[in-house]
Point group: C2
């Protein structure tokens, strides 16, 4: 690994109390380039711009995929990653579906840990704070022919994240727009999936909602995901979440919620969630909660949902009665080393890793 | 418009006989940046790399769309664009669906003509030769939050194209993969649509085909497009092509073929094309031709198609009996100013446009 440290850290001039998510970057980044059929040597270098022409194939054909993960600091200043191998596996699933080269485990995992260790001082400590980490792979070749590129870059950039707290939101159940096709790329964290979701989301916002509950594109009768999160529905005391498929991202938070719910003895069922079932439960008063889960906010609680021209309010539960918040707290406590980790999910970032690289 | 010409043209060192499509760029490019809610002044400048960080939003969320169009030179050295306003309209349809700012007509059209005029010497003349032009819009903001960007670049780059000729190809009718969802972005030239098609195409190639005939994702019972082309089927002497929809790109070549066919008094019908109908016509001998159309090759003739585990050969027709080739020739003759243009499709690029900018 090539190490090229910055000579002027930006940390001093970074206002740790006043910033918005995703706009400030830690001092360094990892990059590793793929050419001639193989990955080169990974490099730690100062975060900043590189050279790309407008004919860059990602700008033209969107051959790019990414991951989103977090590092947490505990009260002793120890740094932990959460299930990082899951992100490693998933970026390669995405890469494969986009006909991109898979990144080697060594490049991904060592890059991640070296970056975390070198920029350890950037990782926020405190309630709801973390470092958001973005590994990505994208085509770097220049060319105007729509074909698989021969050159790629793997990069890891990262940005301090302040708070998980998000006020309860209203969501619109989609009856027209969709985020994935059968036989498509919905299960991949493909760059293009996100751009495709922006306009429908804007339309939902214009109708007074914050996000969309995506439904299957053929019938719009089944829940898929919510915004960029997986979705859970609680009817009476049973939790439902749709099975993953080629249309639904296999979320790591989703999987952790399922495991935690089982561990707590809750009744959780992975099965298709029909819009009809949710509407009926709403009508007969058995619909208790709907929420989304994902790395960025862990859990987003929904206060209302819309379907066609109707808006339905969800019950307001005390925090301790909410499965969404109970599971969220259990997960955050594990992530931040405030609780035991019976699942082996936390991964300590050793100090002075550079000496062993 | 800001004009910044190169001081060292690369034209002399460009081998006009030996190059492959899309790898060589003309001396200049147009760029225009969007920020603070408005487009800045367009600029002609030397083609080359610019600065973008790996946190660039296009690399991460694929907010990018493009056009593909051509300029042709006639025997007198006059340069023509083909229906350029169609591309202008379509890039903005794509931009809208991707929640991107629409590019002003002035920026698009003047940029195009100035670039063509300044790099006039790069435009190849001769049978099947043209300049392939790529206008595109992509997000340029840096950020790790999946949201609509605030900064964009519009660019036009271009690359000499040698020949339309492509040998007849075999295509696989998709019964699993798909390129677009109902309520999705299939009608847009969204960057991510292309990356999503690469892997399925590789799978088809492994089965011995060159391209995929995309079918609807819900049932795979209806033709949508072929590769990155619109598709036509001829049964007896009737030509069929599926109607455009939110799942099918509204191709300019497709539209031109429809108009030309009508003009020639051919029986052409814009209606859903069922896989079943094509298979039946194949069986009873009435299936004459299947072909794809698009700007890059104008027409790609199919010699065989596969469905499930079967492969079917298509009849080999004399050029003059082929509707595909007859319409292709008629179109190319108009594009290259070798025939009258009753439709008003050709648009002359005036000389010394710079003096009027
Ligand atoms: C489309 C989509 N669904 C779900 C998720 C949740 O996945 P994870 O829990 O792994 O962050 C994400 C990513 O955050 C996503 O982009
Ligand atoms: C998906 C797709 N379909 C069809 C076409 C054909 O469109 P046009 O004839 O405007 O080039 C293209 C572009 O070439 C395309 O990318």
């Amino acid at each position: 690994m090539i190490i090229q440290k910055t000579s002027s850290s930006r940390l001093e001039s970074f206002d740790q109390e006043n910033y918005s998510f995703g706009d400030h970057f830690i001092d360094h980044m990892i990059i590793c380039e793929y050419d001639n059929g193989k990955w080169g040597e990974a490099k730690l270098m100062p975060y900043g711009p590189l050279s790309f022409s407008p004919a860059n194939m990602t700008f033209n054909y969107g051959q790019a995929c990414f991951e989103g993960m977090k590092a947490y600091k505990d009260k002793d200043g120890q740094v932990f990653l959460f299930r990082p191998r899951k992100n490693f596996e998933r970026i390669n699933k995405s890469a494969k579906r986009l006909a991109m080269p898979e990144v080697p485990e060594e490049v991904f995992m060592k890059g991640l840990k070296v970056l975390m260790d070198v920029d350890r001082a950037w990782i926020p400590y405190g309630e709801g704070r973390s470092l958001y980490i973005r590994p990505l792979i994208f085509a770097t070749e220049e060319g105007l022919k729509a074909r698989v590129a021969h050159k790629y870059m793997f990069a890891i950039v990262a940005s301090p994240a302040k708070s998980y707290y998000t006020a309860p939101v209203s969501v619109k159940i989609s009856d027209y727009y969709s985020r994935s096709a059968s036989g498509g790329v919905g299960f991949a964290k493909a760059a293009g999936n996100y751009a495709a979701a922006f306009y429908p989301t804007q339309m939902a916002i214009e109708e007074g909602y914050d996000q969309i509950i995506w439904t299957d594109d053929a019938t719009h009768e089944y829940f898929e995901e919510s915004g960029t999160m997986n979705v859970f529905v609680r009817i009476n005391d049973t939790i439902y979440t749709p099975p993953t498929s080629e249309k639904i991202l296999d979320g790591i938070t989703r999987d952790s919620f399922i495991q935690l719910a089982k561990h707590k003895g809750l009744d959780i069922r992975v099965e298709p969630v029909a819009v009809k079932t949710v509407l009926e439960a709403q009508k007969n008063g058995t619909l208790k909660e709907i929420w989304g889960v994902g790395t960025a906010v862990v859990t987003s609680v929904f206060k209302a949902f819309g379907y066609k021209d109707q808006r339905f309010e969800l019950p307001v539960l005390a925090d301790e009665d909410s499965y969404a918040l109970t599971l969220k707290k259990a997960l955050v406590d594990i992530q931040t080393n405030q609780a035991e980790d019976p699942f082996g999910w936390r991964e300590l970032v050793e100090r002075n890793i550079l000496e062993t690289v």
